[in-house]
């Protein structure tokens, strides 16, 4: 398992990536992280919602309550322009970091 520090740093990155596709609500985000990482990564609700709150405050995402007939209302988040830039930057940084670490540690990167 990944250590806590690393996970903490990467979760916003993952959230941005998931929101790039389409607006999603919190539960969907946590499910997708777990599913798409094949269970390696997990975000608990306890940290997810404060995180979303912080990301919204930074202007990376905006949330909106959406009512659907016959359901409780849900808060959907979508990416802002700033969020998209942050995602690009983090994506670069991450790839470079991974490559660099890989070169040093002798890990072949995908």
């Amino acid at each position: 398992m990944f250590d806590r520090e690393l996970r903490k740093g990467t979760t916003p990155f993952l959230i941005l990536a998931l929101l790039e596709v389409e607006p999603r609500h919190g539960y969907e985000i946590s499910r997708l992280i777990e599913l798409q990482s094949r269970g390696v990564l997990r975000v608990h609700a306890a940290s997810l919602y404060p995180l979303l709150y912080r990301m919204e405050k930074r202007g990376w995402i905006t949330g909106r309550w959406v009512e659907k007939p016959g359901e409780r209302r849900r808060r959907y988040y979508r990416l802002t322009a700033a969020g998209r830039r942050a995602l690009d930057a983090q994506r670069h940084q991450w790839m470079e970091f991974a490559a660099a670490v890989g070169r040093i540690a002798g890990v072949a990167h995908a």
Binding site: G26, S30, A45, A46, Y53, R75, H92, F97, R103
Partner: protein, 897 residues
């Protein structure tokens, strides 16, 4: 369905703030727990367990509760990314420690960089040490910039450094507003004989009374020369501190004492401060006691120094001096036609060829240092490539670009400092060794020392080299951004590679420029050495002698030298001996002459002038001169014999061009007596020309000979003479033979200096030879560094392109093609460097012109040879990496991918 809001409230405690956004979060959380519950139930988890698990996940983080309690405000704590200055001053120290560790971990790289830079720095510091002491240091006199030497000149004959006539000197001194004052001196040969010790020769000048005032240096003891301008009076002498200590035991009551110089009593008027020996290495100054005006305008035998008036520039002074010279030439055409004068800053005069020489060497050392810097920059760039990973990680971990650059610069500063320390040590030893080894007299060498100036210069070297070799790689390395690391063989490295190629091209260009300079000096020196000066050495010694005139008189002088030569010829320790009042390259007395039936002694106030030299029998043999016609002198050509002379070839060409029979002609020797020094013993003016000798240079090493008349030393003796002694066995034995013979004739007579004859002849080219040697060493080192740089970049290229080469080979390229490809690349760099270097050499050649003799700064042969040499070396350097490339195994290379 449980009441999620209540359950969450229970678990998160009382501290839930009633903020709108926080209640949003709570609602989302509630929703989330509900979704989770449904999911778990869908998986068949019992309701109670599903409820507890969903709630536990949503509240597992205790921080959540706190966060909600704070109303969503997060604590403002930003972690310090590693590699970023935490704000304290320890970052710098940390960086330095890191850099030291890094240097220790790659000793090969560190040693190579420090060695290359150290050599360059050592050369620069060493030359600067000399430059500072010899050229840049002001002369130790008040307002030294205003002191000039005054020379007479006859530009038409290439004479620019002629001593001045006492009469004409007075004209120049009197020019209004030009000089504050001017002093003149001449150099008698003086023996100091007293009962304090062995008789000694003392380096003496006889100067005008204002000499010390003009120089601005007063005696530390005694009043100096009497200030009244009376020319007649008691003979006065001032002595140097050195002579005072060695001869007179630093006796405090020396002033007022009488000493005998050449047998004449002189009153000691003062002791000069330590270190004052101007001009040259003078230890004794006597006051001229004859009237300068009562002499000849043709007798150019006095040194002169002047202090420019306030606000008089050097150019202005030269214009004014020429005006006076032109007027004198108009007024006294028979003696001064074509003559003029010029002033030269005293410091230039003292330093001579060392000024252009040391400046050129300093330039060369600077270029060498620059090349070394480029080499190290090259190494650093290569290493920056290898360290991209390290920098990328540090950047990714949050190190700022500024911080990375600082780290890199600190490493550069450390390297430069280490190299400068190494260079400093090298310079110290090399300068010391050079001074000990150098066959030449380096003026002002006593001041050569590692002092504050040199240390400042070393610091400057550290700063400059750091900037030159460190900044570009630092910028490059800190730019490492992270993209190029990812795309491994993409633009980032191509750019670095291009930078390195440019560095190598510049290195080659600079070494071509240096080699060209060295080549030109080699050509100059070989031209100098090939000069036929009409004299050559074969192991002879030169000993100079001075007879006290009172005791001997003219006839006694002739008799003394005649007897000495005869005695020495019988001595088995001596294989041959001759005497003369001037050595080859020295300028004789310029005295009028006539030729019976052709050239009257005087015609319409016009005189014909030739140099007079008095030489003994077998002098021409001993001096290595060639007799063309007739005979030299014999021992029978004495005061009782028929008066005879030998003339030089220029004399014949100038004055007897159409005459078949030169021998037997009668030369009219106008001079009866030459100053207090020499006198014709034969009564008749008429001398038979009995021989013609090939020209012996008599105005300097490179100037053509002036017409010269050689008289027999026995017929026209001088008190002062040089003995040319050929030792039969050892020089020491020959010298003791001379000492014994002299002692037998006169126990009170000291020997003057003894020096090898080849040093006398070679002295004129010594400085050029030494400068040439140093230049060769510097340019050789430069070429070596450039070649190492080239080799490095080619090796690097080959290793970077290994895959491409592998593919080429796999696709059917022959090893030969690969070899050619790499060699071609090396040659391309070489050719670009050579072309650039030749242009540089063309521009820089002019800086050397003061040192060149008989060779143009654009000498095609030299530049061509340098180009060929550098290209050949380039080719050789390219070959090893090319062979390695050609030997690439395609299968293995491709498999590594």
């Amino acid at each position: 369905m449980p009441d999620w809001a209540r359950l969450l409230g229970e678990r998160l405690g009382e501290r839930i703030a009633s903020d709108a956004r926080v209640s949003d979060v709570l609602e989302e959380l509630e929703q989330h727990v509900e979704d989770r519950y449904r999911e778990l139930r869908g998986q068949g988890v019992p309701p109670d367990e599903a409820r507890d698990r969903a709630l536990a996940e949503a509240t597992s983080d205790r921080a959540l509760g706190k966060w909600l309690g704070r109303g969503g405000r997060s604590k403002k704590v930003r972690p310090i990314p590693p590699g970023e200055n935490g704000g304290s001053g320890t970052g710098l120290l940390h960086d330095v420690r890191y850099a030291v560790r890094l240097m220790r971990h790659s000793p090969g790289f560190t040693a190579a960089a420090v060695a290359a830079l150290g050599l360059g720095a050592g050369a620069a510091i060493g030359v600067y040490t000399l430059l500072q002491a010899v050229v840049l240091r002001p002369l130790p006199y008040p307002e030294p910039d205003r002191l000039v030497r005054l020379w007479e000149a006859k530009p038409a004959e290439g004479l620019l450094h002629e001593r001045v006539s006492p009469v004409t000197f007075l004209d120049y001194r009197a020019a209004p507003g030009l000089f504050e004052d001017a002093a003149a001196w001449w150099v008698p040969e003086v023996n100091l004989v007293d009962d304090l010790g062995e008789p000694i020769r003392v380096a003496t000048v006889s100067a005008t009374g204002n000499f010390f005032d003009l120089m601005g240096i007063s005696p530390v003891l005694g009043p100096g020369f009497a200030r009244d301008s009376a020319l007649e009076g008691d003979a006065e002498a001032v002595i140097s501190d050195r002579l005072w200590r060695t001869r007179f035991g630093a006796s405090p009551d020396i002033v007022g004492r009488s000493i005998r110089l050449n047998g004449l009593p002189h009153e000691v008027m003062g002791v000069m401060p330590p270190g004052f020996h101007f001009p040259d290495e003078t230890d004794l100054w006597t006051r001229i006691s004859w009237n300068l005006a009562e002499h000849s305008r043709e007798a150019h035998f006095m040194g002169a120094v002047a202090r420019l008036g306030p606000d008089v520039t050097l150019e202005g002074a030269n214009v004014a001096v020429r005006t006076v010279g032109d007027r004198v030439a108009r007024d006294f055409p028979q003696t001064n036609e074509g003559w003029n004068a010029r002033v030269v800053p005293l410091v230039d005069e003292v330093v001579g060829v060392f000024r252009p020489g040391l400046i050129a060497l300093f330039g060369a050392a600077g270029l060498l240092l620059l090349i070394a810097c480029m080499n190290v920059a090259n190494l650093l760039l290569a290493r920056a490539g290898a360290r991209q990973g390290e920098f990328a990680v540090r950047a990714a971990l949050g190190a700022s670009r500024k911080r990375l650059m600082r780290q890199f610069l600190i490493e550069s500063v450390l390297l430069a400092t280490a190299a400068s320390v190494v260079g400093f040590v090298i310079a110290t030893f090399v300068v010391r060794g050079f001074l000990a080894w150098s066959p030449i007299e380096i003026p002002r060498a006593d001041g050569i020392a590692i002092d504050a100036g040199v240390l400042m210069f070393t610091l400057a070297v550290i700063g400059i080299t750091t900037v030159v070799f460190g900044v570009v790689p630092a910028a490059q390395a800190s730019r490492v951004n992270l993209q190029s690391v990812l795309r491994e063989t993409s633009r980032g490295q191509v750019a670095g590679h291009r930078g390195r190629s440019a560095l190598v091209i510049s290195e080659i260009a600079l070494s071509v420029a240096l080699l060209s300079g060295a080549g030109l000096l080699v050509r100059s020196v070989s031209a100098l050495l090939a000069e036929d000066i009409g004299a050559s050495a074969a192991g002879e010694l030169v000993i100079d002698m001075q007879l006290p005139q009172l005791q001997y008189g003219w006839h006694g002088s002739g008799g003394f030298y005649g007897q000495l030569l005869a005695d020495l010829r019988d001595d088995p320790r001596v294989a041959g001996v001759a005497a003369a009042n001037f050595l080859p390259l020295e300028t004789g007395w310029r005295v009028p002459f006539g030729i019976a039936g052709l050239v009257p002694l005087e015609q319409d106030g016009q005189e014909h002038i030739a140099q007079y030299h008095s030489v003994s029998e077998s002098f021409f043999d001993a001096a290595g001169a060639r007799l063309i016609e007739g005979r030299g002198f014999t021992a029978r050509d004495d005061s009782t014999g028929r008066p005879v002379v030998v003339v030089n070839r220029t004399f014949v060409e100038r004055f007897l061009p159409d005459t078949d029979a030169v021998l037997g002609r009668t030369l009219l020797v106008g001079a009866h007596q030459i100053g207090p020094l020499g006198r014709r013993l034969v009564e008749s003016e008429a001398h038979e020309i009995v021989g013609v000798v090939a020209d012996i240079r008599n105005t300097g090493f490179t100037a053509p000979a002036e017409p010269a008349v050689y008289t027999s030393f026995r017929q026209f003796p001088f008190f002062q003479a040089y003995l040319l002694v050929q030792p039969a066995s050892t020089p020491e034995a020959a010298v003791s033979a001379v000492r014994d013979a002299v002692r037998r004739l006169d126990p009170g007579l000291p020997l003057g200096s003894v020096q090898p004859y080849d040093r006398v002849l070679g002295a004129a080219t010594d400085a050029n030879r030494v400068i040439m040697l140093l230049m060769l060493v510097f340019s050789g080192m430069a070429l070596l560094l450039a070649v190492i740089g080239l080799y490095g970049i080619l090796s690097y290229t080959v290793s970077m392109r290994r895959r491409e080469i592998g593919i080429r080979l796999a696709l059917g390229a022959r090893a030969r093609d690969v070899l050619a490809m790499v060699v071609r690349y090396g040659l391309l760099l070489g050719v670009l460097g050579v072309v650039l270097g030749l242009m540089l050499a063309g521009a820089a050649g002019r800086a050397l012109s003061g040192l060149l003799f008989d060779v143009s700064p654009l000498d095609a042969l030299t530049l061509g040879a340098v180009a060929v040499l550098v290209l050949a070396v380039t080719l050789a350097a390219a070959f090893a990496p090319a062979r390695r490339a050609a030997a690439t195994d395609p299968i293995r290379t491709l498999r590594q991918e």
